[in-house]
Amino acid sequence: MPIPKQIAYNKAKAELGKKLFSEPMLSKDGSVSCASCHTLPGSGANKTQYSFGVDGQQTATNASTVLNSAFNFSYFYNGIADTLKQQVKDSITKEDGLESSMDEVVSKIQNSAYAVEFSNIYEDGVTPQNVVEVIAEFEKALITPNSKFDRFLRGDDTALNAQEKRGYKEFVSTGCVYCHNGVNMGGNMYQKMGVFEPYESEKIASSRFDVTKRERDKNVYKVPSLRNIALTAPYFHDGSVKTLKEAIIKMREYQLGVTKKAHKSTADIEAFLKTLTGDTPAILKGDK
């Protein structure tokens, strides 16, 4: 399933959301913004192993990209937020996020130049709901269409070279596709990290268990999207893997129980995954 070339969103709201996205005023101490960990234009994630919050505090997870997040079925690695809006709200208020309260954010925005922009869009001006909505609307606009793979899916056979095509075949036959599928090649189900061997992380990240409190959900995380994967190193929920190649090998070992040294197929899969990088979202065009 290719990413649609366009997505419907409210331009005025998204443009305002775009400004707030990189507005440090949203954090408790005014030190960080969404953009601090989600670089835009760019990967929509960041290059450090862990994302960080207020006071430079490190979290236990790597920042997921905001690109194409509208296609995910839930948000955060533990899937605690059902909707993009809920995700925005959580990111602003939670401990690993900006640690603000919505009331605080609203009153800061009310005393800023943004207040006029809000009242131009909303009759009720700056409200918690409206703040969340504009940012969610911006995130919705962050789609990266026209990747080589999408062009291939749309019928352009020349979009992938021979190695990339082999990689695609390998991606399917290895079984990667059973978790990484759909528009986002992931982001539509949960899976246990470490199926055949227990996966050890340096820090304990919040897993599905924290949401459901069920034994079977220990070490279960949302399967991340592979879209723009070449841009979003480091990899895995704990950001412990630096290269795509290593990520492929580890996935195969922990998730598929395949230990034999994987020959050239790794390079082919890697080549294929690099074809998943799409165009810069239209709303970011012209930005540096």
Partner: protein
């Protein structure tokens, strides 16, 4: 009199209007409730369809690679379920409240089962792929295998043929067969898990609860219809009773008016007879003349104008003792009827005798407010005597 004839129909019309209004209002209310119950039924069918469709999709997940569809279908189902539960909760029925709670609880379980099936199904598929790969490499390396490896494979083969997969889990894998063992174990584990999940899916099916909601909505609709019919019937009966009563009252009223009219005409005839035969006058409480008939004027020789407003003693003859009049007043003042023969004087001074009856007349409070005197000229008889 005519007022009564006007008021009775007015009351009847007002009564009917209000009865009609009440029954109209009840009908409106019932119609509104019925509309909601109908909507509940429609929503029920829709949700049931969606639920069945989604369940089917989950059960056939082995044939599908793309999870977007199933994720989307569940999102839609969840939204529909939330809307449904809110609709039911907004209706003020205990039974629906209970069912809402059951559906909510089951759906929460379904939400987890839904994800678990996706998760396990994916693992099962990959484990199958790699167990085949393992098996192929076993075949390739057949000649390098130790007797322990061979034994493992033979026992595995037996377990597969005997369908005693669970026993195979206990088999000791060797170096060559360890990945095959791991994959087969995963397959076994996930198959068991999927069986449990599918059972749980079945156990938490909300179809029967939705059906109960539908039945309840049907029952309630019927109850409402019956209630409405009963109300309408009662109102109809009440209206009929009121109508009959009204007619009776009306007839009675008309009758009594007819009686009154007859009585009046009879009375008029009596008065006429009296006026023609007797000398009649009326006085107020002080004895001033307020009415005289022609006969009075004829016999007394006065004109009517000369008499009205004058004291009655204008016709008193000096021969009459004052004591007679004292007795007369004493009688009639206390409500008695006075009888007696009185000598009166005409305008020209001559005397005439009248046999007199004086009756006090009462107002509606029962107080005397005037006196009526009826007299017969008996001069002829007195003179003869």
């Amino acid at each position: 009199m005519n007022k009564v004839l006007m008021v009775v129909p007015a009351i009847i019309i007002a009564l009917f209007a209000s009865l009609f209004y009440i029954s109209f209002e009840t009908k409106q209310e019932v119609a509104k409730k019925e509309e909601i119950l109908k909507d509940v039924r429609a929503q029920s069918y829709e949700l049931e369809e969606m639920f069945k469709l989604h369940t089917k999709r989950l059960l056939h997940l082995n044939k599908e690679v793309n999870n977007d569809e199933v994720a989307k279908s569940f999102e839609d189902l969840k939204r529909a379920e939330e809307y449904y539960v809110n609709t039911l909760a907004s209706l003020d029925y205990d039974r629906l409240y209970t069912l809402t709670k059951i559906i909510r609880e089951k759906f929460e379980a379904i939400e987890l089962i839904n994800e678990d099936i996706k998760t396990d199904r994916a693992l099962l598929k990959t484990a199958v792929i790699w167990s085949i790969d393992d098996y192929q490499s076993y075949l390739k390396n057949l000649k390098h295998l130790s007797s322990a490896d061979r034994n493992y494979m033979i026992n595995l083969f037996k377990a597969t043929v005997d369908d005693s997969y669970s026993e195979f889990v206990n088999l000791n894998a060797t170096k060559y067969t360890s990945t095959l063992n791991a994959h087969l174990q995963k397959i076994y584990e996930k198959q068991q898990s999927l069986i449990e999940l599918e059972n749980a899916l079945d156990k938490n099916s909300i179809v029967s609860d939705i059906n109960e909601v539908v039945n309840f909505a049907f029952e309630k609709s019927n109850d409402l219809r019956a209630e409405l019919n009963a109300t309408t019937n009662n109102l109809l009966i009440a209206s009929m009773v009121l109508l009959v009563l009204s007619i009776l009252v009306y007839i009675k009223e008309v009758r009594s008016m007819q009686d009154l009219a007859r009585a009046k005409s009879e009375l008029r005839e009596f008065v006429f007879a009296l006026e023609e035969s007797a000398i009649v006058s009326k006085t107020d409480l002080k004895g001033k003349i307020t009415y005289v008939n022609n006969k009075f004027c004829e016999v007394s020789g006065y004109e009517e104008e000369e008499l009205i407003g004058k004291p009655h003693n204008i016709v008193r003859h000096p021969d009459m003792k004052a004591s007679v009049f004292e007795e007369l007043w004493d009688t009639i003042k206390y409500g008695g009827v006075f009888h007696g023969t009185i000598k009166n004087r005409r305008k020209d001074g001559s005397a005439y005798y009248v046999d007199t009856t004086i009756i006090p007349l009462h107002n509606e409070k029962g107080e005397i407010d005037e006196y009526l005197a009826v007299r017969y000229d008996v001069t002829k008889f007195i003179q003869e005597v």
